[in-house]
Symmetry: C2
């Protein structure tokens, strides 16, 4: 654990990350000593810092990440948390503040072991995402929406909860982005007023391997009519959905070719030797 480059397990009580969730974060998958999609994570972090006006020293941050590299092999996740720092007059930040850089290492969470063609179970959360176009896409520290939705988990065997926006349209999972296919085309919900723009979601959108349409106002009905559904996350990968449970009804899906191809793309990225 490093705080501003120093080994530290704690942070000052006056840090604005704790006081107001005034910051951004990334969780980066480690494979051996390689942080997967690191440049993409750093790019999203920069974008978040810019949006919030955080004064983060990225040169120092990248040095600190490098200095931890020898320890990466013992872990699976590097978490990077950037808070605005300490101080200011209440909510109003001081202009000269410099951001706090926090690096921590973590094991991979327990994940289901799926056989080929198998998928995961998802449910629809009652709790809805806050509407806030200004912060949509950014992985900031105001995550009560995801925490509240996660409290609805009906049983440990459930893999993910799908979240809706204030109007009731489907947006994403609590910790993953959602794709759905119909009639040979692939779709993903737009993240205009809420949602986190996932690293692997962006990579799929930009990959050229798929022709993906970004859709506003995705209804639950659209998902029920889909041929296949899958979730993705830059740390844990691609997960075909086998069942969607909502209001006592269970809708089943087979693992489709899009999910299979996306899984293969993630596998290649995970095992490629393209350290950046």
């Amino acid at each position: 654990m490093l705080v501003n480059g120093l080994p530290q397990k704690t942070i000052n009580l006056d840090d604005r990350g704790l006081a107001y969730g005034d910051g951004v974060f990334e969780t980066v998958r480690l494979v051996g000593s390689r942080p997967v999609f690191l440049s993409e994570h750093l790019q999203r972090l920069r974008k978040g810092c810019e949006k919030l006006g955080l004064n983060c020293d990225f040169a120092k941050l990248e040095n600190e990440i490098s200095s931890l590299q020898a320890r990466f092999t013992d872990y699976a996740i590097l978490k990077i948390l950037i808070s605005r720092g300490a101080g200011g007059r209440g909510y109003r930040p001081a202009s000269e503040m410099s951001a706090t850089r926090i690096l921590t290492l973590h094991p991979l969470p327990e994940l289901p072991q799926l056989q080929a063609g198998e998928g995961v179970r998802v449910f629809v959360c009652e709790y809805r995402l806050s509407q806030q176009a200004e912060l949509a896409g950014i992985k900031h520290l105001n995550r009560l929406d995801q925490v509240m939705a996660s409290r609805e988990w009906p049983e440990p065997g459930m893999f993910e909860g799908l979240m809706r926006d204030q109007q009731g349209y489907i947006i994403e999972g609590t910790r993953s982005n959602l794709f759905y296919a119909q009639g040979g085309s692939l779709y993903t919900p737009a993240l205009k007023n809420c949602g986190v723009a996932g690293i692997f979601r962006d990579l799929l959108l930009q990959s050229g391997e798929f022709d993906i349409s970004v859709i506003e106002n995705v209804s639950l009905q659209a998902l029920l009519q889909a041929d296949e559904l899958f979730l993705c996350n830059s740390v844990t990968g691609v997960w075909p959905v086998s069942s969607l449970e909502n209001a006592g009804q269970t809708h089943h899906y087979a693992t489709g070719s899009f999910a299979t191809e996306a899984m293969s793309l993630f596998g290649k990225a995970l095992h490629a030797d393209n350290a950046d």
Copy 2:
């Protein structure tokens, strides 16, 4: 500074208050050794803990507050921060977690010294409050809305920024609640989809001294047509508004009888000897 009853200036990096803003807080005004409106603050804290499902030991919290009392006279503000604690599987909290209790003491912020009848300047923030009915009213730690709006401050002499909801209706200040009077009646915006239900706002609503209507969809136009405007906050009190600046236009108000009466009520509460 006390963390779970122990003198401590830091908190563990894995606390969910830092990770997700997973908690609630209160700032309590101290007058001599007396915390003003303490029972009301604790009541809102309980409500917030209940809503978020935080497992906070209020008996311990109240003991810890008492144990700090000898030091109250050197400060003006007691901040109580309750986070869900450390741990859980990502966003999903572990069921057996116990909340972290953080108590810190602070001086009063610099406040303008007004002559009788004078008021403060306010402006209208471009940044709007997130729409989230589930969390409306609660003083939780997801405060990026207030931080982002506070970054718009045009000059140090400005006292407060008024915030609108996603539909553009006026809700509150970044750190205060808003009241407006017209034709001898007093009004305050409803906090249905956003906003913080302030302690002194609640006291005014319940006081019986005023007949206050709680209004949805308060337009900027309604404020421009008002006879008087005032802000309140349980720590700093009641502030008549002398000017509202928006889009290059300045609208002036005289300090009215409602603001004067509310100021007097606050003054009485501050100096009453009704320690609870």
